[in-house]
């Protein structure tokens, strides 16, 4: 066997370069993203134990070499049976929903203004929207601790204007959580809206106006439907991280602002109940996946008609 045929044989046996390009990131994601999920799913069916890790094994080899699978549905029963958890889910959805709506109401005219600004201004304004995204999320939330405090500038201003007579309790309320959410996720809302509005064909708006549409009608009949995709994308980008948010309710919310991210955190770190934390994570995941699929289906149906 000569050298060339040996080399060919080796090439046949060893995977080609393209194989590695796909396999390396694929294996990484399988190991560090997919398998962890399966473990969460497994632990959500386990029993809590006084050990490290604090769970009983799910798969057990008995002495007769039989694989015994011990699934406990009690964690899910616990999650759905306790009004605390149900309430945490409802609170999360409510707070994320209201925050998304507020971000949309503020973000839409801002995106509109940026997209319609003179071209020299547009890049600067765009950068100003993106910039907060790069500065520490934690520190930006922290900034509101000072602003909303009893002796903070917002209360100071309201007192000075004579609108209130004693400082309001702004921190540790749902109001503070809404402010923190909109503040943190506004850029996520503006970016897709901006690209949708920028693509808008101005001739259509002019045509509608020429044909006698009032400005409000032009907006609701043409601008809004044509930028629907941007609205969808922006709302998803705000709603999804907001539902599972931990830092904002932990810093700005009160003891009764029970959001699900915070409950998972507390179950895990404070109560060391890994099975219930896992069960909560699974329920949250199913909730989010269901929501995304539902929205995709609505969007697909609208496109079909």
């Amino acid at each position: 066997m000569n050298l060339a045929s040996l080399k060919r044989a080796a090439q046949r046996l060893l995977p080609s370069g393209g194989w590695y390009v796909i396999a390396i990131p694929y294996l990484w994601l399988l190991l560090f993203f997919l398998i962890p999920f399966l473990i969460v799913l497994k632990i959500s069916f386990a029993n809590i134990a006084l050990a490290m890790p604090p769970v009983e094994p799910v798969f057990v080899w008995t002495q007769e070499q039989i694989l015994q699978i011990r699934l406990h549905f009690s964690n899910f029963g616990f999650v759905f049976g306790d009004s605390l958890y149900i309430e945490a889910f409802l609170t999360s959805v409510r707070i994320a929903g209201v925050s998304t709506l507020l971000a949309l109401l503020l973000g839409y005219p801002m995106a509109y203004g940026i997209a319609r600004a003179p071209s020299g201004w547009r890049n600067v304004l765009f950068l100003l929207v993106v910039l907060p995204f790069f500065t520490s999320f934690l520190l930006r939330v922290y900034a509101w601790l000072g602003l909303l405090g009893r002796s903070g500038p917002l209360n100071g201003l309201l007192l000075h204007l004579g609108l209130i007579h004693e400082p309001l309790q702004l921190l540790q309320t749902d109001f503070a959580v809404y402010v923190g959410m909109v503040y943190s996720y506004l850029p996520f809302m503006i970016l897709p809206l901006y690209s949708a509005i920028e693509k808008l064909d101005l001739n259509l708006l002019e045509a509608a106006a020429d044909l006698g549409c009032r400005p409000a009608q032009v907006f609701f009949k043409i601008t809004l439907p044509l930028t629907k995709e941007g609205i969808f994308a922006g709302c998803l980008l705000v709603f999804i991280p907001a539902v599972g948010e931990y830092v904002i309710p932990a810093l700005l919310g009160g003891p009764d602002t029970l959001m699900i991210g915070r409950v998972v955190w507390d179950e895990f770190f404070a109560n060391r109940d890994w099975p219930v934390a896992s069960a909560l994570a699974i329920v949250l995941l199913v909730l989010l996946a269901g929501l995304v699929l539902l929205l995709q289906r609505i969007q697909a149906r609208e496109e079909a008609t």
Binding site: G17, G18, V21, I22, I24, P25, Y26, W28, L29, L31, F32, F33, P36, F37, I39, V40, P53, L106, P109, M110, Y112, G113, R116, L125, L128, V130, L131, F134, T135, S136, F137, L138, L139, R140, Y142, A143, G146, L147, G149, S151, G152, P153, Y183, L186, P241, V243, G244, V247, A250, L251, G261, V264, W265, F268, F269, A281, L284, L285, L288, V292
Partner: protein, 283 residues
Amino acid sequence: MNERRSLVVLSAMVFGFAFLYLPILAMMVYSFNASRLVTVWDSVNSPTIAWYRELFDNTALLDAARLSFQIATTNATGAVILGTLAAYALDRYRLFKGRGAFNVLTTAPMVLPEVITGLSLLLLFVALEQTVGWPRGRGAVTITIAHITFSMAYVIVIVKARLATVDRSIEEAALDLGARPWKVFAVITLPLIASAIASGWVLAFILSWDDLVITSFVSGPSSTTLPQLVFSKVRLGISPDINALATILVLLVTTCVASAGIYMVRAERRRLRDAQMAFEDGV
């Protein structure tokens, strides 16, 4: 434009940008306040740089910052390597088994709540330690692995978008002239997507540098990153040295992002000019 509508747009912009920037500016101003009661301005002794001086004497904080920097650098490099490979695989190999699943796996980490990512990775590390004995305990290594896993998704988005705009005929010409595939990638594709890789690196660095939730799940008792230290402190309320720290970090990041932006605009302009020249030479 209609008068009333432009008024709505204008007031939303003024309010919106004030809303985005006033809290940061207020924090910066308060960092020079001498009073320990952060929001009560001590007009006699202010402005002062006392809190900045205190910051640089705080060894726990400096250690945490060093650890965060190390993790963020390693993470950004790892995320860029894996992310570029994945983006290349998705852009160039249209047909391979499990491509659909791969596509989902590459985008899912971006939309997943951080508590779930953190919890699942910790459970994996615990299970791995029990079965294969690696990684021993949790610390910088597990934090870095966790960060690479979620930040590579962002690199993939950026690099994939750039790969889609690369003119394939140049690569094909090189292949026709006998260059090996990896050489084509190194000599032609890589320089073309270099600026996207650079911005992916910066983004991955910042995501890691900022992360609190995932880090808290996968870190050990001996490893405290800067966000963890800041969080444990601000949970107890506002403190003047955190204002000083925030001011430094915000200014640092602003400088970095602004220079990266300018660099990218220049690179883009140069790319267009080169393309134009090549076209004119051809004609």
